[in-house]
Symmetry: C2
Subunit: 335 residues, 2 copies
């Protein structure tokens, strides 16, 4: 990892930046019982709760694909980079603990220097990390002549209830989502994910969650991952029950697609989709955890394939393939 040095605020070098990050990050790092040692060595040293599994997830965000430096603030970009990773911890009903951050910074972006960009990013990263009790424990900072790239790795741990995998869905399970879906790319909502960490823990405390995923590729695609990982199951969604976000309604006015289509396929909602046994679904709906919004959207089936039942009774198959980052025919499709 990168190394700090003594540095004045005027320094524009890596060591100046790292020293600055260290200064910003240290109060948080010091407060965390999980941090044995943070920024300032070859590795950070962390302590996890004995007997718990350590969770690890990583996401890389690139200018022009996951954000636009011409439109979005560096603070927003930092928030998104941290948020999408914490959302992956939420998807396992885990507790986020610490993060490391690597960045490739343009030397100049308009009139902004690499150092100014780094400070903007840092503000966003730090704000979200602080909200979720995540200690920023290290990273690697580079400047170059290419576009901005940021890669965040978040570590967490399971609770005493264990992790919730994608692979545990069973035929008959009821499918829930935790919020309204669609249109987040148009409204900019995708830049400010609010990972459902507490919601996931509360839900998993209340009833055994059989399978769970966070909605980054869209309900159809992400539910498809649950079906696939659970051994090739199917599902029926109830069209009238899928919660459509106002952003999706607004987007549908000009997109030529229906609001429902946006809700199913847009992605980057960062809500949770999970399945529970039917008895548990009844219990959960009768007494949802405080502050947790629940929408019951469908049922897991033994017969493979994702289908949607419209309010008039018609049934359609829906494709589950989400956005594919290497599909050469869809450049920039993510924004």
């Amino acid at each position: 990892m990168s190394r700090p040095q003594d540095a004045t605020p005027q320094d524009t070098g890596e060591f100046g930046l790292i020293a600055w990050i260290r200064e910003q990050a240290e109060p948080g790092a010091r407060q965390s019982k999980h941090v044995a040692f943070g920024i300032g060595d070859d590795c950070a040293g962390l302590r996890f709760t004995p007997g718990r599994e350590v969770l690890v997830t990583t996401d890389m965000l690139m200018d022009g694909r996951h954000f636009l430096t011409s439109v979005h603030t560096l603070e927003q970009i930092g928030r998104k980079a941290m948020g999408v990773n914490i959302s992956d911890i939420a998807a396992m009903a885990g507790v986020p603990v610490a993060a490391v951050v690597s960045v490739a910074l343009p030397r100049f972006l308009g009139k902004r220097t690499a150092m100014e960009l780094a400070r903007g990013l840092e503000r966003g990263l730090d704000a979200v990390a602080a909200d979720y009790g995540v200690a920023l424990v290290g990273g690697d900072t580079n400047a170059w002549d290419g576009p901005l790239v940021i890669s965040v790795t978040v570590l967490g741990e399971t609770t005493e209830r264990g992790p919730v995998r994608r692979s545990g869905a069973k035929p008959g399970d009821v499918i829930f989502v935790t919020g309204r879906l669609g249109g987040s790319l148009d409204s900019g909502r995708h830049l400010e994910p609010r990972p459902r960490i507490l919601e996931a823990q509360q839900l998993h405390q209340r009833v055994p969650l059989r399978s769970m995923i966070d909605l980054s590729d869209g309900l159809a695609g992400d539910l498809g991952h649950i079906l696939e990982e659970s051994g090739g199951l199917g599902a029926v969604l109830e069209a009238g029950a899928v919660p459509v976000h106002n952003d999706a309604v607004r987007m549908a006015r000009t997109s030529g697609r229906t609001p429902l289509d946006h809700a199913l396929h847009d992605g980057e909602d960062f809500e949770l989709c999970f399945t529970v046994a039917q008895d548990d679904a009844i219990r959960l709906q009768a007494q949802p955890p405080a502050g947790v919004t629940l929408y019951r959207v469908g049922t897991i089936k033994a017969e493979p394939g994702l289908r949607i039942r419209h309010e008039d009774g018609r049934m359609n198959a829906i494709p589950t393939k989400g956005f594919d980052h290497l599909r050469v025919s869809e450049p920039g499709a993510e924004l």
Copy 2:
């Protein structure tokens, strides 16, 4: 993290690639007692040895800075990306356990597709991971129109002897390095780091290592980090004792610099530099661990600053500032 899908070998999409990586990685992942679950969920789940600290380190490598896709093979680049991170675990005398990898792949590089690039990288990553018992447990794969960027995060754990920090040097400590230094950038040796994992563990088993760092910025710069982190100490290096690599001698023929200067400042040697108490230095030199090469290069001093004593008795101050990734005046200085 990215999600696998069933995929044929012809798939060029992310899911195809991830499925392929999963297939490559799974035998290794399955063999590791540390992996509860690997690629194929929102997070990987790891188990660490109770009572040990978890080590985490991350490094990002960019085309044109840390490697050149016009010169180096993708397999070499993959080897370097994994090796530099494992070297950071060695620097703490730790045991590497698992890695996650994020990449931004050019859609096309000459005639090579993103998928072909990914497979080349993967071969290099996997070869080094296998050599060091590291399970590849997840990642994020993206294609774009920018240059190749790869970010690797490696997790490890301390041994029963605990971590070796940079901050533990004491005046009077003897300074050692584990191999010959300099010229690695010119010879291409920097692309094939051989992290000193076993060497570090054996040394730390034999005597208490007081401080340690891996040599990525050059002996002067990295020893500077030890001095700084140990509370502003100094050191004297013996010019005649610094082990100069043949690559440094070769490079000096055309660079206008001395071989010693290359050995002190080139960096990317990925040898270890460590300090031990004087009694322990004598013990270590009398009975070095089998297969570990040791060069005794100098002594830690209370008086701040790094100095070098030439064989004729002259003493010079040497700058400790290593290569600074954000120093705008040194574009590409790392290659």
